[in-house]
């Protein structure tokens, strides 16, 4: 055991003397977590009074539909409606030009007489229905205009994601449906009043009967409310922790290039002892990185009007998850450093493979939005296991037992990668002949 502590001391001394490297190891992950969380804030829209997505709004209707649509979009809080530019009202041509130039991403054009057209259409439908009820009374259809459908145009910049386009179209359709439902209800009331003038029907507005409530089932008594901070801090913390692969592999290659490894290999000490000492030192680094990133989530992000990170009550489980995630990253780093022949190979392969594993692991795009084949691949990414574990702890209120499968997978990954490195080093001594 004392050889392990001697190797640990050596590793620690080497690391602590690289002050610039240490600073980078601790500051870059914090920067990454803060910036990426802020950048991704829009998707979550939990920040108050923050700039929203500008939408060019051309309301040529100036009646119920146009006005209600305007109110509905503004109420959504995701969009800020732009109706004038430099005090000049936005026209369809202007909107098309501005979106084509990429100055704006979305435009809504509500044509003239939209409300009247819809009203006429509904009147015709109601009149036809009432007429058939009243044994085809032709008087009921008298004076009801037969109009064509109306088209509300939504303009999109090609850079707007398809999912966002669909979400926007659904929202506008929903506003319109509500308006139409109200108009149908009102016109029915008016028509019935015409048929039965002897009855005084009280005019009432259409009332929705089904409401949707979003809740988050959680194992915790006090559920943690999902927010961009809650989602992004653990995600980017994992990403940053896995980037330990670069300095760790570099340290292994340096030791080999400087010749110290050859001497160590002729000494009565196992490679595993040397590897484990490296792992222990870098595990401390990873854990400090994690604590700093969590502290940034709690104290730094609120300075940017972001919600603070909530840890819930599973401190121990979170610490265990951070340790096993770090171990998986370190095992991978040891393997990359051992197999790579040069610093360049290790840096290029290490960084690109982490980006790929992060993308596969659902750190950027949620797995449920991926295709089936990609979902199967995602299950093979250690970053996915770490991500799932943290998300369960930070958002779903899971306990340590709840994330046991993820912990087990990460530990097995660590054991496999470090064994591969040890076997490779045994079979291929670092000697140029």
């Amino acid at each position: 055991m004392f050889k392990f502590f001697a190797a640990f001391r050596k590793e620690w001394l080497i690391l602590e003397r690289d002050i610039a490297g240490m600073m980078l190891l601790f500051t870059m992950p914090i920067l990454m977590v803060v910036i990426l969380t802020l950048v991704q804030e829009f998707g979550w829209n939990t920040m108050a009074n923050e700039p929203q997505m500008p939408v060019l709004f051309v309301n040529n209707d100036s009646d119920t539909v146009g006005n209600m649509m305007e109110i509905g979009l503004e109420k959504a809080k995701i969009f800020s409606l732009v109706k004038e530019i430099n005090s000049v009202p936005v026209t369809r041509e202007m909107a098309e030009m501005l979106i084509q130039q990429g100055d704006y991403q979305i435009g809504v054009i509500i044509p003239e007489n939209t409300t009247n057209t819809i009203r006429s259409k509904i009147q015709l439908m109601v009149a036809k229905t009432m007429s058939s009820l009243m044994r085809n009374d032709p008087d009921l259809l008298e004076g009801v205009p037969n109009t064509d459908s109306i088209e509300i145009v939504v303009l999109f910049d090609p850079t707007v994601k398809k999912t966002f386009q669909n979400a926007f179209l659904s929202a506008t359709r929903e506003f319109n449906s509500k308006i139409e439902a109200r108009m149908v209800f009102r016109i029915f009331q008016e028509e019935i009043q015409k048929i039965f003038p002897q009855f005084k029907i009280p005019i009432s507005d259409y009332q929705e009967t089904v409401f949707f409530t979003a809740t988050y089932p959680s194992g915790e008594e006090e559920a943690i409310y999902p927010s961009s901070t809650q989602h992004n801090v653990p995600s980017w913390a994992i990403f940053a922790m896995f980037f330990i692969v670069i300095p760790l592999s570099s340290s292994i290659i340096k030791e080999r290039d400087e010749g110290s490894l050859i001497r160590i290999m002729t000494q009565p000490v196992s490679y595993m002892t040397i590897f484990m000492a490296k792992v222990a030192v870098y595990l401390i680094v990873c854990f400090i990185q994690f604590i700093l990133m969590v502290l940034a989530g709690i104290y730094l992000l609120p300075l940017f009007n972001m919600p603070a990170l909530e840890l819930g009550h599973q401190y121990f489980a979170i610490a265990i998850m951070a340790i096993v995630s770090s171990l998986a990253a370190l095992g991978y780093g040891i393997m990359v450093g051992t197999i790579s022949k040069t610093h360049q190979q290790a840096a290029a392969f290490g960084s690109v493979s982490i980006v790929i594993l992060a993308a596969l692991g659902g750190l950027w795009v949620p797995i449920y939005l991926m295709g089936y084949s990609m979902r199967n691949l995602a299950a093979l990414s250690p970053l996915n296991w770490a991500h799932e574990g943290f998300i369960s702890l930070f958002l779903r209120g899971s306990s340590l037992a709840g994330v046991f499968p993820e912990i087990a997978k990460l530990l097995i990954f660590f054991a496999v990668t470090i064994s591969v490195a040890a076997i490779y080093r045994t079979l291929k001594p670092p000697i140029s002949t």
Binding site: A7, I14, S260
Partner: protein, 250 residues
């Protein structure tokens, strides 16, 4: 050979993957206890491969290697306790001090506490490095680095010491200190296996040398006797050039 054999190499051959030519071509050699044995050869002759096999870094392809009666492969871990290696490259951590490097490598040999401290102090004084022990290796001159590199392989007082070009690129004073020390070390009963390109140095230091090229032993014997047996060559260097040729090597 009065002393018993400490290293026995029997019919040793070694091929590297992808190479048709053997790195070591069926060599047999006995090295005796308390002997300074020189492995001389041009670049690519097979010196480092032989030392790597003797140190247990490579497995012998064919043949057998025994060190103090122990098999170089199956008893590798036991052998590691009795051998020391001084690689050609400066195998030290540049950001650690000389003392920290020696403490670490001493610890890896299982040394610690007072014994390790005494050994380190003894060698630092012997090699004139005691004043610089707490300086980082990166600040050392080439000669100082070579001396620390040598001490790191000596701390556990190995029975067999492998020296791969220990005096390459250093000043005359440092070389002199090292060569004198190796003579002293021999007197304490240590067997030294030594590779060098300096024929003069080998003549001065070695009890026996083996001139090797293309993985084959071309000549073995006491350097002076080898020259005497070939009177047409006035020194070991001329004999070496005759045996290995004057063509440039990679």
């Amino acid at each position: 050979m009065a002393e018993p054999v400490i290293i026995r190499i029997e019919d040793l051959s070694k091929f590297y993957k992808g190479s048709d030519e053997p790195a070591i071509d069926n060599i047999s050699l006995d090295i005796c206890r308390n002997e300074i044995f020189g492995l001389l050869g041009p670049n690519g002759a097979g010196k480092t491969t032989i030392i790597s096999i003797l140190c247990g870094l490579f497995s012998p392809g064919n043949g057998k290697v025994t060190i103090e009666g122990m098999d170089s492969q199956s008893d590798r871990n036991k052998i590691k306790h009795i051998i020391g290696i001084v690689p050609q490259d400066i195998a030290l951590y540049p950001t650690l001090t000389g003392l920290e490097n020696l403490q670490f490598f001493g610890n890896m040999y299982g040394l610690r506490g007072k014994l390790l401290k005494e050994r380190i102090d003894e060698y630092l004084v012997r090699f004139g490095l005691d004043r610089f022990a707490k300086k980082r290796v990166t600040k050392y001159s080439g000669g100082m680095k070579r001396r620390v590199n040598l001490i790191a392989g000596l701390l556990h007082k190995p029975k067999i010491l492998f020296l791969d070009e220990p005096t390459v690129g250093i000043d005359v004073q440092s070389r002199n200190v090292i060569l004198d020390f190796l003579h002293e070390l021999k007197a304490t009963g240590t067997t030294i296996i030594y590779t060098s390109h300096y024929m003069e140095e080998a003549e001065r230091l070695c009890d026996r040398v083996a001139i090797i090229d293309s993985g084959k032993i071309l000549a073995v014997g006491n350097p002076r006797k080898l020259v005497e047996e070939n009177p047409e060559y006035k020194n070991l260097e001329n004999l070496f050039l005759e045996l290995t040729g004057k063509d440039l090597r990679d």
